[in-house]
Amino acid sequence: MSHATWTVAIFEAILVFFILSKIFLARRGKSLYIRKIAGLNAIDEAVGRATEMGRPVLFSPGIYPLDISTLQALSILKHVTNMAAKYRTRVIVPTLDAVIQTMAEEISKEAYAAQGVPEQFNPDDIRFLSNNQFAYASGVVGILNREKVASSLLFGYFAAESLILAEAGHNVGAVQVAGTPAFMQIPFFLTTCDYTIIGDEFYAASAYISREPTLLGSLVGQDYAKAVIVLVILAGVITATLSQFGLLPHWMNWLHLFNPK
């Protein structure tokens, strides 16, 4: 599909309306409820453990170049470095993309400065390894072993190398928390990591951690948007079932509106 049809335009407008309206409501100070997400509480635990052991934390922002999932990973990184800077703990960030590396460097530098310890920031901890997926994986495995990493946080989009990173982390005895929007890789994180953030929880992370009203509002808006999808699907299932037996007049069959072809 190269351009929006009317259905797409209206449908997206409804979703956008819910998300934006909830953001503005929350900004005006409406208090909002968010359910517990166990894996996200574990991030603090992981940083705490590294501090106790006096060893570094490893944070991987995934293997995509700049895109929404990587930006979300960077916003989680922001929280992690803030905490680590408070406790004077190192965060090593190996990256697969030069632009991401630069952004991560900026974020870390700021976090250490905000905690009053700009001298603790070491640019060598934010490393560009390679844009080759498996060269990157081999490099991360090396870092995990050589730097005696205490906690490994894997957030972002991952592909096949997910298991290499997570098993290597497990083998060095690191506490591991992982989250990815890539469905295919969740099983591998589930089997090797101590805590795994599943699917959508990944995008809920920054709201959950920071409790920033804008983000909380957005999260509630997302729930409404998902509810819209649920309703559309339910209506579609009923229409499809009825029209299967010719119980619906032809003009009431609206299902083709959602067929982009």
Binding site: M1, A4, F11, E12, L32, Y33, I34, R35, I37, L66, D67, I68, L71, V99, T102, M103, E105, E106, L129, S130, N131, N132, F134, A135, S138, G139, V141, G142, N145, R146, A160, A168, F183, M184, I186, P187, L190, I198, D200, E201, A204, L219, V220, D223, K226, A227, I229, V230, V232, I233, G236, V237, A240, T241, S243, Q244, L255, F258, N259, P260
Partner: protein, 211 residues
């Protein structure tokens, strides 16, 4: 060549036992070679045909692209670091602008494919029944899984939280299936590597040591 490749292969495999000198060396060679390749392809596949050739052919306004790229490098200057943020902002804008198209392109098909009739009129009774049950289960799983991902609805009793708990169980089942389905593909790759060592390299070793 086979010798070199086999040695690097074995060095990388040695991580399975323990991190060691050979692995470190192979890892650094790999990262080095991949970076050299990155620089070479960045020029030969992108900058040469898409940028340099155009300037030489008279579209000299492409100099602007170089100026824009140079803004990234202001991260190294504390005073003008905001100029690099300008670039990050522009890239974030581009990425977020694509979201509308990306969302529709991916999800409209998915939504349309979910309009499954839960009572199917098939060729035979058993086929109709099977297909109906399959579709019903499909919709049930889809909805319970989505229920699991509602973050802002408070579940006060066990009844209201039932769909989301079911959703989590179904998810675990699906993840198990995904895991099982991937094993064969990964093993195939490993067999390919083993075959390289056994059939391409071992004969050379035998010839080398005359046994």
């Amino acid at each position: 060549m086979v010798w070199l490749a086999a040695i690097i292969t074995l060095a990388l495999f040695s991580i399975l036992y323990k991190e060691n000198t050979a692995y470190r060396l192979a890892e650094h060679i790999f990262i080095g070679a991949a970076s050299g390749y990155l620089v070479y392809t960045a020029w030969s596949q992108i900058l040469k045909p898409m940028w340099w050739d155009k300037i030489v052919q008279g579209e000299s306004y492409w100099i602007l692209a170089l100026v824009a790229s140079s803004m990234f490098y202001f991260v190294f200057n504390q005073k003008y670091v905001w100029i690099s943020r300008l670039m990050f902002g522009a890239l974030m804008g581009l990425i977020s602008g694509m979201a509308f198209k990306g969302f529709a392109g991916y999800n409209m098909d998915q939504i349309h494919a979910s309009f499954k009739p839960v009572i199917v009129h098939g060729h035979s009774f058993s086929q109709s029944l099977g297909q109906s049950l399959s579709n019903l289960l499909f919709i049930f799983i889809l909805l319970t899984v989505m229920a699991y991902f509602f973050f802002s609805f408070e579940h006060k009793s066990r009844v209201t939280s039932l769909p989301s708990r079911t959703g989590r169980w179904v998810l675990m089942f699906a993840f198990g299936a995904m895991f099982g389905a991937t094993v064969m593909a990964r093993m195939s790759l490993l067999i390919g590597r083993m075959n390289f060592l056994i059939h391409d390299w071992l004969p050379l070793v035998r010839r080398f040591f005359h046994f």
